[in-house]
Symmetry: none
Subunit: 409 residues, 2 copies
């Protein structure tokens, strides 16, 4: 009798790419020296993976939801909750989440600048003045993000998410009054309107803004919520799959999704998220997490950074970092299946996500080894897995791991 195996999904973030003239028409993966990734392909099954569906441009959030087994068309409830998860806020089921801008209003309450001069400093102090407010039995959680951006969580009983924006999406007009489409959302709308007024009352005299006015900068004297979304009604990872899992990842948004799914989110201090990240420290964390869980997802962020930076040569280097990470896993695991792929393409010619499939190799003790000998966008297109979707990846893995419930008798 075979023992159940362990499983690793290893993702190069945004690693998929297009042919690059600077690389003689190779993609960065094809141009890289990558003996371990090639071994996974040569000794495993290969194919193409559409993170969401063919041609669909995936975000890191929607792609990871799909790859972790949760249909993003069902569970992706808008940017609000995922923005909040991404900056490390403690989103809970039932919460209503918003994206927020710090903005500038004049004495009449008309919006002068929807981004408060793209404020960069002092937003943590400003956010602290709003975080923790309570009203009508509900609590405000509020946290700054990058520059003028922030996130708002309203937490309390009986709140709905069908709320219009307070942000007027224009300047020279006052904030909009929020409205709810149903009784629960009307309760939320009343909270939003109270919150906007309260933000103006508390932020205007705040020392950060006093200093900004003195320096001739537009004060961040109001907070304007938009894009309401209910925290997704997701089961936990363990409830969905029947076993626990860990994440070794560098992207805050993916960490947030993992925490929300009640997965272990491993802290690797040397994982910096850029080209200087310590990929072997990440690999050691994966091997260590496998002593506690049958499944670990590991995402190396730097290929995506190189793609956003239009940097082909650096992207080749990041593939080689992933290769070293894979080599460590091959040397330090037994009875473990490894699937290597990417969460989307970030072509260096584009500098943003695109929707082409990514190469997939599935390696382990009992796979139906095919004839593909190299890991890459074009070589894996000839593989026996053919073309599968992100949502298929865990079933493909857990069947081999002998850890999947049978559907039927």
């Amino acid at each position: 009798m075979l023992e159940p195996a362990k499983g690793i999904i290893l993702l190069g973030d945004g690693m998929g790419d297009w042919p690059v003239p600077e690389l003689d028409g190779d993609t960065p993966i094809e141009a890289a020296v990558k003996p371990n990734l090639d071994r996974l392909a040569r000794e495993g099954e290969t194919g193409l993976l559409d993170p969401i569906a063919p041609g669909v441009r995936a975000g890191s959030d929607t792609a990871h939801l799909a790859i972790l087994g949760f249909d993003p068309y069902r569970y992706y409830t808008g940017r609000g909750p995922f923005e909040a998860l991404g900056i490390g806020m403690d989103v809970r089921r039932g919460d209503i989440c918003f994206r927020v801008n710090f903005a500038t209003v004049d004495a009449d309450g008309k919006v002068l600048d929807r981004r408060a001069g793209r404020i960069t400093e002092g937003t943590a102090e400003l956010a602290a003045a709003l975080d923790g407010l309570t009203h009508d039995g509900c609590t405000v959680l509020f946290k700054q993000s990058v520059a003028h951006r922030a996130a708002l969580i309203l937490r309390g009983p009986g709140l709905g998410a069908n709320v219009t924006d307070a942000d007027p999406h224009a300047e020279g007009v006052p904030p909009h009054e929020a409205h709810g489409a149903d009784a629960a959302s009307e309760k939320t709308a009343a909270l939003v309107n109270w919150f906007v007024a309260e933000s103006r009352r508390l932020l205007a005299p705040h020392p950060v803004n006093v200093a900004r006015v003195k320096a001739g900068l537009p004060p961040a004297n109001i907070a304007l919520p938009r894009g309401a979304g209910g925290a997704p009604d997701l089961p936990t990872f363990a409830a969905k799959h029947g076993f626990t899992g860990a994440l070794v990842v560098e992207v805050g948004l993916v960490k947030g999704i993992g925490r929300y799914l009640d997965m272990e989110v491993v802290d690797v201090p040397a994982a910096t998220g850029d080209i200087h990240t310590d990929e072997l420290a990440m690999a050691r964390a994966v091997v260590d997490a496998l002593t506690r869980h049958p499944f670990v997802l590991c995402n190396l962020k730097c290929p995506d950074v190189a793609g956003h930076d239009f940097n082909a040569l650096q992207k080749v280097e990041t593939v080689q970092k992933l290769d070293r990470l894979a080599g460590y896993l091959l040397a330090h695991t037994t009875n473990t299946y490894i699937a290597v792929a990417a969460d989307h393409c970030t072509p260096v010619l584009v500098g943003d996500h695109t929707g082409e499939p990514v190469p997939l190799a599935l390696w382990g003790p009992h796979t139906r080894v095919d004839r593909v000998a190299e890991y890459g966008e074009r070589s894996c297109a000839a593989g026996s897995l053919q073309r599968v979707a992100g949502a298929d990846l865990l079933p493909l893995l857990t069947s081999y791991m002998l850890r999947q419930e049978k559907f039927g008798a």
Copy 2:
């Protein structure tokens, strides 16, 4: 003008497999001598078939539902109805079905043994004491299955399926009182509670139990229902597809599904369901059924048995039995398309179902013949059909058969 053709789906139950060291790394299909299956591949189109979806571990019930054209995620209403169908009960639309254990309770009504000492004899007589009871305008249908297992059907107007289990799933406690989540299910729950009390009243003094107690065995003195499920609201096969069909199969569960779909279920006495089955008798039954129907599905059970028995060499033999069956069909049909596949994998290294795809060959007068020359898990991965799902199989076949309604104008 072409005449509409006939069609056969030929399945080796659980025939898909993994590379087997004992077979020099071949799968049992790859290791078998199978000139007829290879001919179907060489002269036909080939590909991979996911019975449900990539990686999903299918049961025989869910896989056959999908392959017969009925989405199992929509129509698979739990083990209860399919258990009842599998033991030959006459399940009808509107019925509420349960899995049942014969169990032992003490004088206080506490469950001593949820399986009544795994009783093997006398269960038909015990079941007969409960079958046909009536209460509140409803009828009880009750039939024994293997060992301590049985199935219960409650038939009557206005019954719901959202009913909790009477089986407490534990020993040392009394049976649970069943509860319904809505008015219709409350009516069912009241019937269940009446049935459990009635089973105790009728089974305790039954001669089978008097003899068991005398022999020092735990009496099967109560019946404990669980897993309520409404009979699926399926159209008939003919209503769905526009033509009639027959099944030549050995698995009780698949026969039950066929009867429920109002298909002809052909009785082949020499089809024993094991390695000794007469595959040519089954082939003759297929050819004969094609005189009455445009479509026949034939499932040879023994590859699955060999898989569950971890028996690689026997599994190779079963593939060769399927090959002889296919040879007879090739020799005795004209203007007929044949699709050969499996309902799932039962790898001999695993002894249970797994979720990898199975090889598919589609053969007939006018297919787009591809370059694949052998039938097998890896050879067919290079075929022109690429990777399709079980639910695609009948449409692929009926299009070539010229028996499919056009969708649109």
